[in-house]
């Protein structure tokens, strides 16, 4: 039976991976992800998890090993962060393009330089277009549930895509939280103990994967991937509904908080939503009509749900923990601007870049940015660096 335990968020993912009964784990240690695979290696060494644990020489090899294992039908897991994800970059596209249902945890970490082990979302945003389903969790419960759900979503015959479960380095990974942990029998009711692959490499049925793609094939192949991502949202929602019916925790692609009568909403994803929620409550005490929209799913991007959730808003304050140097603001801001451009009635959209390289975003900072947007103060630029000392 499910029971409430205290657990480090990284270990909540390890526990979910053990309960998912993976066949192969291939990983290379990197802060702030290391605790996840450290715990998994203990499970394997102690005989608590019957899996092949491959110590690889780099993250490029970790993903390559997962690709090979997934191609023969194994259930695979890896985890990485920051530079590790960057080193994996090439293989991320291979995993998605070959439609391999690998699950990976990403403990979001700032990309160097300067050498920073601390959190922001520049690592995954650097690999934004790799074709993976991208989930962002806020706490131990979400990342535990997401990890179990990720295997089910990834392996669904209508999806067959890899899934990245993102959570903020240190602010979430290293925090000990309360978790309602499922037991093996419960997980088995939700997720089959073994992956049943529709396509797998086997000597009895030789097939070729990833052959040369001449110019007259590649467009159709890429479009196939685009359709798979777009169609996966239905399956993600189905899986979340089933999980909710079984265990009582329901999820949706976005989580609006006090948005119904709000004039302004903060929109962001990841661990800082917890702080933003406190800021919203404090502003509400002062009579300010402010809310929060937490984005759980970044790919596929939940366009319809966002339009519906924001229809009564005057303004949106999008907070990004990553940006494109020389570009037009952060990645979420860019998506949101594109979503709303064609609508006749739309909120004003402002971008804030904050929380880079592990800099905390405090409650008062969330409050002042929301107040600023609420008052309709002229914000000179479309997007601003909230915390830069000038």
């Amino acid at each position: 039976m499910a029971k409430r335990i205290a657990i480090e968020c990284s270990h909540a993912i390890s526990l979910a991976v053990k309960l998912a009964n993976v066949d192969v784990i291939a990983a290379y240690p990197i802060t702030p992800q290391t605790h996840i695979v450290e715990k998994l290696s203990e499970y394997v060494a102690n005989g608590e998890l019957d899996a092949e644990y491959i110590n690889v020489e780099s993250e490029h090899s970790a993903m390559s090993a997962c690709i090979g294992a997934a191609a023969v039908g194994a259930r695979c897991f890896t985890a990485t962060a920051g530079q590790g994800l960057a080193l994996m970059h090439e293989m991320l596209f291979i995993a998605a393009g070959n439609r391999l249902p690998i699950v990976m945890a990403v403990a979001n970490r700032c990309l160097s330089p300067n050498l920073s082990i601390w959190g922001d979302q520049s690592d995954m945003m650097g690999s934004r277009d790799c074709g993976w389903i991208q989930l962002y969790g806020e706490n131990a419960q979400e990342v535990f549930d997401f990890t179990l759900q990720a295997f089910k979503i990834a392996e669904d015959e209508r999806v067959l895509l890899p899934v990245a479960v993102n959570f903020d380095g240190f602010y979430v990974t290293h925090v000990i939280e309360s978790l309602i942990a499922l037991d093996q029998e419960e997980v088995n009711r939700f997720l089959p103990p073994k992956r049943i692959p529709k396509y797998a490499l086997h000597p009895d049925n030789p097939t070729t994967w990833g052959p040369i793609g001449l110019p007259d094939i590649q467009t159709e192949l890429k479009y196939q991937l685009e359709k798979a991502l777009q169609n996966s949202k239905t399956v993600i929602k189905e899986v979340w509904k089933e999980y909710g019916d079984l265990f009582g925790r329901y999820y949706d692609v976005i989580e609006p908080y006090r948005v119904e009568d709000a004039e302004v909403a903060i929109l962001m994803m990841g661990g800082h939503c917890g702080t933003a929620r406190i800021a919203v409550d404090k502003l509400r005490e002062k009579g300010r009509r402010v809310g929060l929209i937490k984005l759980r799913l970044f790919r596929p991007f939940p366009v319809e749900e966002l339009i519906e959730a924001t229809k009564n808003l005057k303004a949106l304050a999008v907070v990004d923990k990553a940006f494109s140097p020389g570009g037009f603001g952060g990645p979420i801001f860019n998506e949101i601007r594109s979503v709303f451009y064609d609508l006749d009635v739309k909120p004003k959209i402002f971008g804030f870049i904050a929380g880079l390289g592990g800099r905390d975003i405090r409650v008062d900072e969330f409050m002042s940015l929301a107040e600023k947007v609420l008052k309709g103060e002229k914000i000179e630029k479309n997007f601003v660096f909230l915390q830069v000392r000038e």
Partner: protein
């Protein structure tokens, strides 16, 4: 080439017709892809000069030359990419590369 009937090569599939991830479902299907389409120069053999030595057959990187029992050779234009190695190697210069479209 009776095997041609076993496998239908779809050169311009729609995204729905393309197998998932463009997986090739059977082995040895590359022979159904006629790479002779890539050729811009065609080897023409002057049979009066040919000594039937078989060096062109030895050197052809695409195995597009058939060497018959009587020693004579023939180019399979379905697969010849027109690289010209046979013409280069022929010790009696019996092979000429002729631009496609010309006589």
């Amino acid at each position: 080439m009776s095997q041609k009937n076993e496998f239908k090569l779809n050169l311009k599939p729609t995204w729905k017709e393309l197998p998932i991830a463009s997986i090739i479902p059977k082995p040895s299907t590359s022979r159904f892809y006629l790479t002779g389409d890539w050729r811009s120069f065609r080897p023409v053999i002057d049979k009066s000069k040919c000594t039937r030595c078989g060096l062109c057959w030895t050197y052809c990187p695409d195995a597009a030359i058939t060497w018959f029992k009587d020693g004579s050779v023939e180019v399979n234009l379905d697969y010849c990419k027109g690289c010209g190695i046979c013409a280069e190697e022929c010790p009696v210069k019996a092979i000429t590369m002729v631009e496609e479209g010309e006589e």
